[in-house]
């Protein structure tokens, strides 16, 4: 399929007797913001784990830019341009917010193997890193260790680190989890800005954000994709309403 940045074909993941991913097929088009929603336990995080290479699927294929990446390691996938953020905040707690982002930037810039210059003083490293911190609203906290930030701020930092890898495909796993209203709003605005430069796969529970941002939505239930379409289509889809409203009622 042309215009398809990521193709997931018949993905299956079983853990002992449990089928977390059940013949999941979907594709993500270049330039779109594709949201993945579904009730709890639908297997959304397992899905992202397989996309990012942290979990090996039992069967099925993942193709990125028409290349089969199913057997590639996480590092290889990131270098090809697929990066994810974590639902449960994953940072380097004793390093400063700036250093956290710098790691992503120096990976992106390809010069992480340098011994001489002091990293935090290096302009080509510092400026882009501060840029990202500014975009998530953490510029004034740049020198604080990550563990000293509030939960919401850590989520923002988590996002900044992922963004700083400047991937072709951004896979965001519930970036707004645990955020208050203002912070969520800021993230929605940020994602709106980023839409034009990145292809985004967004897993989220926050329906307002999803319907405001998504070009297309896929609905996951019990590891299967039961519907894919525009927000309009999904809103009106009977099966989806049953799965969701049934689960929430």
């Amino acid at each position: 399929m042309s215009g398809s940045l990521l193709q997931v074909q018949d993905l299956v993941k079983t853990f002992g007797g449990i089928q977390a991913t059940d013949h999941l097929t979907l594709d993500i088009r270049e330039g779109e913001l594709h949201a993945v929603i579904g009730p709890n336990g639908a297997g959304k995080t397992t899905f992202i784990a397989q996309l990012s290479g942290m979990l090996q699927p039992t069967s099925g294929a993942i193709r990125f830019q028409n290349q089969d990446v199913t057997r590639l390691s996480t590092v290889e996938r990131v270098q090809l341009g697929m990066a994810r953020s974590f639902q449960i905040t994953s940072l380097w707690p004793a390093l400063s917010a700036l250093e956290n982002v710098m790691l992503a930037v120096q990976s992106r810039q390809g010069h992480a193997f340098r011994f001489w210059e002091k990293a935090t003083s290096s302009k080509p490293l510092r400026e882009p890193s501060m840029q990202w911190l500014r975009r998530v609203g953490l510029a004034d906290k740049s020198d604080l260790p990550a563990q000293a930030l509030s939960h919401g701020e850590q989520r923002q930092l988590e996002l900044a680190v992922t963004l700083a890898t400047e991937p072709k495909l951004l896979m965001l796993d519930e970036p707004m989890a645990g955020m208050g209203g203002d912070d969520s709003q800021r993230v929605v605005e940020l994602l709106r800005e980023l839409k034009s430069s990145y292809t985004i796969l967004l897993v989220e529970h926050d329906m307002d954000a999803v319907f405001a941002l998504a070009d297309r939505i896929s609905v996951l239930v019990y590891g299967r994709c039961i519907a894919t379409g525009t927000p309009q289509d999904i809103r009106q889809n009977a099966e989806v309403r049953e799965a969701y409203l049934g689960a929430e009622a």
Partner: protein, 337 residues
């Protein structure tokens, strides 16, 4: 420097460090004045161990790699110096297959070789050990060190279990490492040099990756950096610096033995690093000085000083984890390194 607190912290560290180095530089003069050369010897030993501890801190403190075989890198280099000395004294070259290598007491030749040997061992053992992690890594480094230990014990030509004396001290250009005072200043210069080197490395991009690898490895992969090669390079650098310490140790003791590479020695090095404060630049220096001082002080009280040292280590680990450097850091504001 960006923030005023960081700047004043930097200044306090710089002042403290300079005072420390000046005091060390004064030791030989003070020792002459009071007529007791013993102090020159013991401070030389403390400084050599400080270099060992700093090299271990790079991988242990900053990189989170619990290497229980670090003494092998020190000891191997010491043996290179001693073996080179023995061949020089006997006039017979070392025959390795088709190669015939003459002995030497020229430090400018022997010391780089000693460092290179240690670095090579670190590369070989590190490349295997770093494929494992946690528990297995600790055990495999311990076992590799034992291997080297046994090679030394079985090498009858080079003293075996009794060790090998170094009769002619190597010369470093115009300096003679057999002269206690000259050796002292050579070691002091190396101490400062290694400190500066490690400070650079830790603050660099490479150092950033190293420090992050011990805190959250999956996240590192998720931003596209594979920890293995950074760890391996750090391991080799650490081994090389330990090799330098080994070469200095050989001159300092005028003798090498398998005990210099025993796992007990490796354990003591870990104690020095933790005692001094892991992942701090001067922690290992403090730790080495303190440990050797305690060893001499307690040793003067009783020959059974290990009865006290053992529980002391346990108490420190259970209750004083931040180490000696922790006290300094919390008493002055700002900064982190």
């Amino acid at each position: 420097m960006d923030r005023p607190e960081a700047l004043s912290a930097y200044k306090s560290d710089l002042i403290a460090g300079t005072v420390f180095v000046l005091l060390l530089a004064a030791v030989p003069f003070i020792a002459s004045a009071i007529g007791d050369p013993f102090y020159v010897r013991i401070f030389t030993r403390m400084m050599v161990f400080a270099i060992m501890a700093m090299s271990l801190n790079l991988i242990l403190g900053y990189g989170g790699m619990v290497c229980f075989g670090h003494a092998m890198f020190v000891g191997s280099a010491s043996y290179v110096v001693a073996i080179a000395g023995q061949h020089a004294a006997s006039g017979m070259p070392l025959v390795l297959g088709p190669l015939s290598i003459p002995g030497s007491t020229d430090a400018l030749v022997v010391w780089p070789i000693a460092v290179a040997v240690s670095a090579l061992l670190a590369l070989i053992f590190g490349s295997i050990a770093l494929r494992t992690s946690g528990l297995y890594f600790i055990m495999i480094t311990l076992a590799f060190a034992q291997m080297i230990y046994f090679v030394a014990v079985s090498a009858q030509t080079y003293g075996g279990a009794d060790g090998l004396p170094i009769e002619t001290a190597p010369t470093l250009g115009a300096l003679n490492t057999g002269n206690r005072k000259e050796l002292y200043y050579i070691v002091l210069v190396c101490l400062v040099g290694v400190y500066v080197l490690i400070r650079q490395i830790v603050g660099s991009r490479f150092g950033l990756v190293l420090r992050s690898s011990s805190q959250n490895e999956p996240r590192l992969e998720a931003v596209g950096l594979a920890p293995y090669r950074y760890r391996l390079v750090a391991f080799v650098i650490s081994g090389a610096i330990a090799g330098l310490a080994g070469a200095l140790l050989a001159s300092s003791q005028a003798y090498v033995s398998p005990a210099d590479m025993s796992w007990v020695r490796s354990g003591e090095l870990i104690v020095m690093v933790v005692l001094g404060g892991m992942a701090t630049l001067y922690g290992p220096v403090l730790g080495a000085f303190f440990y050797l001082f305690a060893e001499y002080a307690l040793g003067n009280v009783t020959e059974h000083w290990q009865l006290l040292m053992g529980p002391l280590i346990i108490l420190i680990v259970l209750y004083g984890k931040k180490g000696l450097a922790g006290f300094w850091l919390s008493s002055r504001k700002g900064g982190s390194l």
